[in-house]
């Protein structure tokens, strides 16, 4: 029993122990729901920092050399630091903690019907290490020389030699923060897989587990199996920076290409690590709002396994022009194009689920559908980049940048909003405002396309990444191209302003919203069978599972949903 529950039982001393109680409930919790909230809120704060960085460097690109309102002058070094840390924060401190750690923590125990994670203390430790890693990263912005500016991929020798990157401590703290973050997710990941294996409610078979849980677990396994080489590489990079080894320095007998291999061996599975949770969440949302059984549960599941397996054999497509053996490059072209098959299959399954359903366009459903549309563009443009012949020309251009923002933005931001709006009633016991939610949706989705669609054309025009001022390049300094940059930047500012609607809606609904019933969306999965918000220990009585998670509109039943825990007549 947790400290909090114990304190409530001895209610006489409640006043005396108020601080302790609050401390153990919200600051040092063992309850997976509170830990999930900690992860989600920390991730959202980091998202604000990352968005602020994006605002600063986009303003510099649109109006080069002018003072950015709310930031100041963006110099070349500053620009590099901003883009580097924007990428790092958005991937490692927003996508990972919110989608995997946050929603993984919240959903896994609730969806499989158990009272908490298998190792609650490791869970708590995982968040604490994560918090330290975020603080170390923020600290790195303020040390002498400023934050690290060698791109989020940190290629040596730029990242390993202080004379080149001019951020002696900034780069070391960056490596340290990333390594700490990996250790945190390692601890969390052990928990997720073990919980899903061993703590399922009685009667829940492998094929009754909701897709969201399956996908988070697969993502975690991918992460665990791919992160090792990068931790090894991070240790070597740190030693290169601080104690004078030469693992990545050609002058000392090392090999800079080695880092690219170790980094991308993790880096590419990482893309699928953040993609799979969102795909799982979207699968759950679209079945609920189209009142239909998920089309091909097993197909979707097996394609996820195939994606996971293939994700280990595509990583060298990031080195097509780094000088790898062209024979090897060819093999990686084939595997890269192959991985689009399971993902396309998954997409078709989702679209087939929508087909013929009675679709309700509630806010979570809008987010889920927009994810499918936007991610499709990201996926299709990825096929061009996967072909090595084309990649030679597209590499490191804005085409690449637009491509991966068309994948990462739907995964991270749209996925996060879909999940938050869908599970908000369960998390806080109150409904979100639908009208404001829809305003926020359109105010985010339209500007998002206005930002990144033009960037494809800038990339095709030959605009290279990581340049802080294009006025020095005659071909790129034309007014035509500058107008596109200004358009993208204005769209970004509009999108950021619309996030205020969400923040307002979020906090007002949390305290003043309409009280939510236990099952506001009439969904099947187990988390909707308990009260909103669930009590400590989740379920008053441990549920028993009788059927799969997606029994909607079963013929011969009056109601169009059939919760997993309702006993058959």
């Amino acid at each position: 029993m947790s400290q909090a529950a114990a304190a409530v039982e001895t209610g006489i001393h409640a006043e005396h122990h108020e601080d302790l109680n609050f401390l153990h409930k919200y600051i040092l919790p063992l309850d997976h729901k509170i830990i999930a909230m900690q992860y989600i809120f920390t991730g959202m704060i980091m998202a604000i920092i990352g968005g602020y960085f994006a605002y600063a460097f986009r303003m510099q690109l649109a109006f080069p050399g002018e003072l950015v309102p709310g930031y100041g002058l963006v110099g070349p070094g500053e620009y590099n630091m901003l883009v580097t840390n924007h990428g790092t924060i958005m991937i490692f401190w927003v996508a990972m903690p919110v989608l995997i750690a946050g929603f993984g923590n919240y959903l896994i125990p609730l969806m499989i019907g158990c009272d908490d994670m298998v190792f609650p203390r490791i869970n708590r430790l995982s968040y604490q290490i994560f918090l330290v890693s975020a603080l170390v990263l923020i600290l790195s912005f303020f040390v002498k020389g400023g934050g690290f500016g060698g791109a989020w991929t940190a290629y040596p020798p730029l990242s390993s030699v202080a004379e080149y990157n001019l951020t002696d401590w900034g780069s070391s703290l960056w490596v340290l923060a990333v390594a700490l973050e990996f250790i945190s997710f390692l601890l969390g990941g052990i928990n997720f897989v073990t919980t899903a294996m061993n703590a399922r409610a009685p009667g829940m078979k492998m094929m009754d587990i909701p897709i969201a849980v399956w996908f988070i677990v697969i993502a975690v396994i991918l992460f665990m199996a791919s992160v090792g080489p990068l931790i090894a590489g991070a240790v070597m990079l740190f030693m290169d920076q601080r104690i004078g080894t030469t693992f990545f320095l050609p002058s000392g007998g090392g090999d800079p290409l080695l880092w690219e291999h170790l980094f991308w061996f993790f880096g590419h599975p990482e893309v699928y690590v953040v993609l799979l949770p969102t795909l799982g969440i979207v699968a759950d949302i679209i079945t609920v709002f189209s009142r239909k059984k998920l089309f091909g549960y097993k197909t979707v599941l097996y394609t996820a396994f195939a994606t996971g397996g293939l994700s280990f054999v595509v990583w060298a497509h990031h080195q097509f022009i780094a000088g790898i053996d062209p024979r090897m490059a060819n093999i990686f072209v084939v595997t890269t194009v192959l991985i689009s098959i399971p993902l396309a299959e998954m997409m078709f399954s989702y679209i087939a689920t929508l087909y013929g359903g009675s679709i309700e366009l509630k806010t979570p459903m809008l987010w889920a559908l927009s994810f499918l549309a936007a991610f499709l563009i990201g996926g299709v443009t990825g096929i061009y980049l996967g072909a090595s012949a084309l990649d030679v020309y597209f590499h490191d251009s804005y085409f690449v940048l637009a491509h991966f923002h068309y994948t990462f933005f739907p995964i991270t931001i749209i996925g996060m909003f879909a999940a938050l709006t869908f599970w908000f009633p369960k998390m806080f016991g109150r409904m979100m405002n639908e009208t404001l939610g829809k305003i926020h949706f359109w105010g985010t989705f339209i500007p998002f396309n206005c930002i990144f669609l033009p960037l494809f054309f800038l990339g095709l025009a030959g605009q290279h990444r990581r340049i802080y001022n294009y006025q020095h390049f005659p071909d790129l300094a034309t007014q035509e191209l500058q107008n596109i940059r200004i358009f993208a930047t204005v769209s970004l500012v509009v999108m950021l302003l619309f996030q205020l609607v969400f923040v307002y809606n979020f906090f007002v609904s949390m305290f003043k919203g309409e009280k939510a019933p236990d099952n506001p969306w009439r969904a099947n999965t187990l988390e909707w069978s308990t009260s909103s918000p669930p009590p400590h220990g989740n379920f008053k009585k441990l549920p028993t599972v009788y059927r799969g998670a997606y029994e909607y509109s079963t013929p011969g039943r009056e109601e169009d949903f059939w919760p997993q825990n309702v006993a058959p007549e």
Partner: protein, 208 residues
């Protein structure tokens, strides 16, 4: 805070007791073992990364060891390898005894296993001191850097696992909150991992 449900309206409506819950069926593989297996996959990939780094860097250098760097003590380390393997073996036997409820003998054999592990660690430390005396440091060459990185990473694991296992050994016979054979198993798995990865590293670093 007078009413627990009013202050906790944010996150949890009310508290329920976690006692008196129906017990679920005992899983076929304990949570500790599953967690440790997943952790071992990560660890194996960590060492695989180090091995890859060694092979790539080694392939780019003609003279190995580089000029002016000492040769590694192959023979004494071979003996040391045997000691570590023996430690793994006695660890396995001790588990057999513990499963048969022979706590005294099992605990003694586990102690022997841990002593052998400590001997391995001390011998490695002695070897490092000698190599440092010969002028091989982390930054003297990439050869030295790789040696200290890989062998150091393994040594770090040995220290960590030994510390945890000695703590468990103490609790094996403790009167309150003793550890069982099943509770010991995940830690033993980690020791087997450390033992099994050593011969690979030995062949890679010392023999090639």
């Amino acid at each position: 805070m007078t009413n627990p449900s009013s202050q906790s309206v944010l996150f949890a409506a009310s508290e329920v007791s976690l006692t008196n819950r129906p017990k679920r069926a005992k899983p076929p593989v304990s949570s500790g073992v599953i967690g440790m297996l997943i952790f071992m996959v990560t660890e194996a990939m960590f060492f695989a990364g180090l091995i890859s780094a060694y092979m790539v860097i080694r392939s780019g250098i003609e003279e190995w060891p580089p000029w002016g760097q000492p040769r590694l003590p192959v023979e004494t380390t071979a003996f040391n390898t045997l000691v570590l393997l023996l430690s793994g073996l006695t660890m396995g036997f001790s588990r057999n005894l513990l499963q048969k409820q022979k706590f005294q003998e099992g605990r003694r054999l586990l102690g022997i296993s841990l002593l052998l592990g400590t001997f391995f660690l001390v011998a490695q430390g002695y070897e490092w001191v000698q190599l440092l005396n010969f002028g091989m440091t982390v930054s003297s060459s990439v050869y030295g850097g790789l040696f200290y990185l890989i062998i150091g990473a393994h040594g770090f694991h040995v220290v960590g696992v030994l510390a945890v296992l000695i703590h468990a050994w103490n609790r094996l016979g403790a009167s309150n909150n003793p550890i069982t054979a099943e509770g010991l198993l995940p830690l033993q798995l980690l020791w087997y991992f450390v033992v099994c990865v050593w011969p690979v590293l030995y062949v890679l670093v010392y023999l090639t």
